[in-house]
């Protein structure tokens, strides 16, 4: 019988195979192919065991005990042990934001036996399971200890996991093609698939990720049956795809993505809160989404920093566009007419449209804008600079995120308010917000957590931490496939090919 192969075009080519060293989403997707996780979210955003058979927490909320399922094996044949899990999580905790927070509260990880291990906290922490079940950004994937012992700032040298697919090293061509084969030794859970949780059944023999840089070609290839799956066809192509009856569009990720406008708090004029507030009032999600997505079926205005549709969603403090007030604030803020450098990454189709919209909005309230086009790498290099604009600094950049990474004040990197040291690009330095985030982390009661999140949001909108430019969803286009999982990432278990 012929091998069943899915040929998929992902949103970018896989080049870095270590999903811990990088936050690149393609590496995360790769991670879900070959690695497995201890816990995963189900469709109600509840954390469910995956590799773990069961877990328990002590009454003082300080000790978490985890037991592994039977029959878990890495692709090289060795069984998965507690050592592997501890090493993997510790490596992850060095890179991921929430992992770091967890590490701050962690006293130690203790191996009980090959299948059982314990996490001992210094003090109670509300996000232990949320962190361990984290479906995106850096996901705590479990790899063999020898790989997990690689320093966290160095690429792992191998691609060995315990997930439902195996990496075919000989056929890997970075940036071009990745090949996965069904892991026949994989023991899936018996529960049905639910979001990222449940039984991961590989129903095809082989998955090939092919990087077709030209979407026009990718779609033609899909129509012609040369490929089966496109992860993120640009929205402008959806009308063409819809005309084709045998192509299905699957909105697998209800939370979707959203864009972010980030100002540089360390340089004038955005070191002044009034000027930031003016910007928050000048811009308008509708324009961004129209320019970026266009089709209202796929976008959503969302006043929540922590994402509409997530437990923390609220509209607290969301600025209503008000040009007059913005102009007034600008004056009060003492804006001196110096050009504002907005960086536009023209090689990144989904981010590129944001900057011109911002530029036009700022011009409307009388700001002087210098819109500079560059490639994404230049932007990435330049946004790290804290120097004045004249020496290569910047004022505004935009980027986009997968919303599942934004759903609470800890995970949401835009809420990092640690300032120039330990903060994220733009470097807002707001101790109150950091205090609130800390409180959120310690809070064990979901209802109270929600309240703290709302407080964070209110304050953050007021100070202009960043402007969310609106939510949008990117459907998967596929032909002849069924069972595409609705989850936080495009995963290939459960998919059947006719």
């Amino acid at each position: 019988q012929a091998k069943k192969t899915i040929k998929a075009v992902m949103h970018s080519g896989l080049r870095i195979t270590d999903p811990i060293i990088t936050t690149a989403y393609i590496a995360r997707n790769h991670g879900y192919m070959i690695y497995d996780v201890l816990f995963a979210y189900d469709e109600k955003f509840e954390v469910k065991p995956q590799m773990a058979k069961e877990w328990s927490v002590s009454d003082d909320k300080l000790t978490y005990t985890f037991t592994l399922r039977d029959g878990l094996k890495f692709h090289d044949g060795t069984p998965v042990t507690s050592d592997d899990c501890i090493a993997s999580i510790q490596r992850w905790a060095k890179r991921d934001g929430m992992g770091q927070k967890l590490a701050d509260f962690t006293k130690e990880w203790v191996k009980v036996d090959d299948k059982t291990f314990k996490l001992v906290l210094k003090e109670p922490y509300g996000l232990v399971m949320t962190s361990l079940g984290k479906p995106s950004g850096n996901t705590p994937f479990i790899m063999p200890k020898r790989m997990a012992d690689t320093p966290a700032d160095k690429n792992v040298p191998e691609e060995i996991g315990s997930g439902p697919f195996k990496f075919v090293k000989e056929e890997f061509q970075p940036g071009l093609k990745v090949v996965y084969e069904k892991n026949t030794d994989y023991v899936p859970r018996s529960e049905p698939v639910s979001y990222m949780a449940g039984g991961k059944l590989a129903k095809v023999d082989r998955v090939e990720w092919i990087n077709i840089p030209d979407y026009q070609t990718a779609i033609n290839a899909l129509i012609n049956g040369e490929i089966d799956y496109i992860e993120q066809p640009p929205h402008d192509f959806l009308p063409i795809i819809k005309k084709n009856k045998d192509i299905t569009l699957t909105e697998y990720d209800k939370l979707g993505l959203s864009g972010m406008l980030r100002m540089n708090w360390t340089l004038p004029p955005f070191d002044n809160v009034k000027v930031r507030q003016a910007v928050m009032l000048a811009v308008n999600q509708q324009d961004y989404l129209d320019a970026q997505i266009g089709d209202p079926d796929y976008y959503q205005l969302c006043p929540a920093y922590f994402i509409c549709g997530s437990p923390n969603a609220t509209d607290a403090g969301f600025p209503k566009p008000d040009l007059e007030k913005a102009k007034a604030l600008l004056k009060e803020g003492g804006y001196d007419g110096k050009p504002i450098v907005i960086m536009q990454p023209t090689d990144l189709a989904i981010v590129a449209p944001l900057a011109p919209v911002t530029a036009q909005a700022l011009r409307k309230i009388g700001m002087n804008v210098d819109l500079q086009s560059m490639d994404w790498q230049t932007l990435v290099g330049r946004r790290a600079k804290q120097d004045p604009v004249a020496q290569g600094g910047w004022n505004i950049f935009h980027t986009t995120w997968v919303n599942v990474d934004m759903i609470n004040p800890i995970a949401n990197i835009g809420m990092n308010a640690k300032g120039k040291v330990g903060g994220w690009f733009g470097w807002p330095d707001v101790p109150e917000i950091e205090k609130l985030r800390d409180a959120y982390a310690r809070e064990l009661d979901p209802a109270k957590q929600k309240q703290i999140a709302a407080d964070v949001q209110k304050l953050a909108f007021e100070l202009g931490m960043y402007y969310p430019t609106g939510m949008y969803r990117s459907p998967i286009a596929s032909k002849g496939l069924t069972g595409i999982v609705h989850g936080a990432a495009p995963v290939f278990w459960n998919i059947e090919k006719k």
């Binding site: 080519g13 080049r15 870095i16 195979t17 060293i21 990088t22 936050t23 690149a24 590496a27 890179r95 934001g97 950004g137 850096n138 320093p151 966290a152 700032d153 160095k154 690429n155 040298p157 061509q173 970075p174 940036g175 071009l176 093609k177 092919i210 990087n211 077709i212 840089p213 030209d214 026009q216 070609t217 990718a218 033609n220 290839a221 129509i223 012609n224 040369e226 090689d347 490639d375 994404w376 790498q377 230049t378 990435v380 290099g381 330049r382 790290a384 290569g392 980027t399 995120w401 990474d405 990197i413 990092n416 040291v421 330990g422 903060g423 994220w424 690009f425």
Partner: protein, 313 residues
């Protein structure tokens, strides 16, 4: 001749040194940081700095340069920062499609353009001449991706004769290999056909006025032979120059075609590497290009001597 060849091949060494240095300098001038792309969007500046240190990117440029040169002398082009793969392996994987496309394109372009140019020159001023000239001018001005999409639309989507995209190695059989190259070759060759046809027409037009052409006619030689053996042979030097320039252009300049038809070639590797600031890959690829160009130009110069016995080195 032997000495000439040896001299020219030796001359590649300074070229490579110059290219290596210039590219290295350019890379340090260009902003961007491979460590940042490795770390991803959500990484903090501190994490990026750690990766930089790990990669040795925070050492003084001179040290890095010397280190790289040192490894180069040992025949080691280094390892990609991003994908962790040896540069030689990356190049090895990508060179075949590019060479294949370049070869088919050049062969096809020559096969079409030279006869067109000759006929246009022969029938100077006639409708054939005008048609050839019009075609070659239009060939100059259609953006290559538009042509690519149109061909895909026609041959792959409507007629379904050919696949839309992809590349199959020649090792897997000639037929699958060539069917996937037909459309890219057609797309890419239009501009070369235009260029070569024009040069051929111009050169042949000039040689047709030479005395030896008249001599050939006085001998009663047939027109076809007058055109090919006398006029074209003597017009060959500029035509070969242009073909050589064309090959050089092809090898680096096929990014768009490679993207449109999803061919895993060197053009895309270069652009990817530049956009990701994957220093070792960029450096390796440019060195390879420089070496190829020297070889191509050497080939052209040798071709001159074969085509025109008066030229000697």
């Amino acid at each position: 001749m032997g000495r000439f060849l040896a001299g020219r091949i030796l001359a590649t060494i300074p070229v490579l040194v110059v290219v290596a240095t210039v590219v290295f300098l350019l890379l340090r001038l260009a902003p961007g940081d491979p460590a940042a792309i490795l770390a991803g969007d959500a990484a903090s500046p501190e994490q990026i700095a750690a990766i930089r240190a790990r990669l040795g990117l925070d050492e003084p440029p001179l040290t890095q340069f010397l280190e790289w040169i040192g490894r180069l002398l040992r025949g080691d082009l280094g390892t990609s920062i991003i994908s962790n793969q040896p540069v030689t392996k990356l190049i090895g994987e990508r060179i075949e499609p590019t060479l294949a496309l370049a070869t088919t394109t050049i062969l096809f372009a020559i096969a079409v353009a030279v006869p067109l140019g000759v006929v246009a020159a022969w029938r100077h001023g006639s409708w054939i001449d005008r048609a050839v000239m019009a075609f070659s001018v239009i060939g100059f001005s259609i953006p290559i991706f538009v042509l690519g999409y149109l061909l895909i639309f026609g041959f792959a989507m409507e007629l379904r004769w050919l696949p839309v995209q992809g590349y199959t190695s020649i090792r897997e059989g000639f037929l699958p290999f060539i069917t996937r190259l037909v459309l890219p070759t057609l797309t890419l060759s239009v501009i070369y056909i235009a260029l070569i046809a024009r040069i051929t027409r111009a050169s042949v037009l000039e040689t047709l006025g030479e005395d030896y052409v008249r001599t050939a006619r006085a001998k009663g030689v047939g027109e076809r032979s007058v055109l090919s053996r006398h006029a074209l042979r003597n017009a060959a030097v500029p035509i070969v120059s242009v073909i050589g320039i064309g090959i050089a252009l092809l090898i680096s300049g096929v990014v768009v075609t490679e993207s449109v038809f999803n061919l895993p070639g060197l053009g895309r590797l270069t652009v990817d590497a530049v956009l990701a600031r994957d220093y070792p890959v960029i450096q390796g690829v440019t060195l390879l290009f420089a070496f190829l160009y020297v070889l191509i130009n050497l080939g052209i110069d040798v071709a001159y001597t074969l085509l025109d016995p008066r030229i000697r080195y």
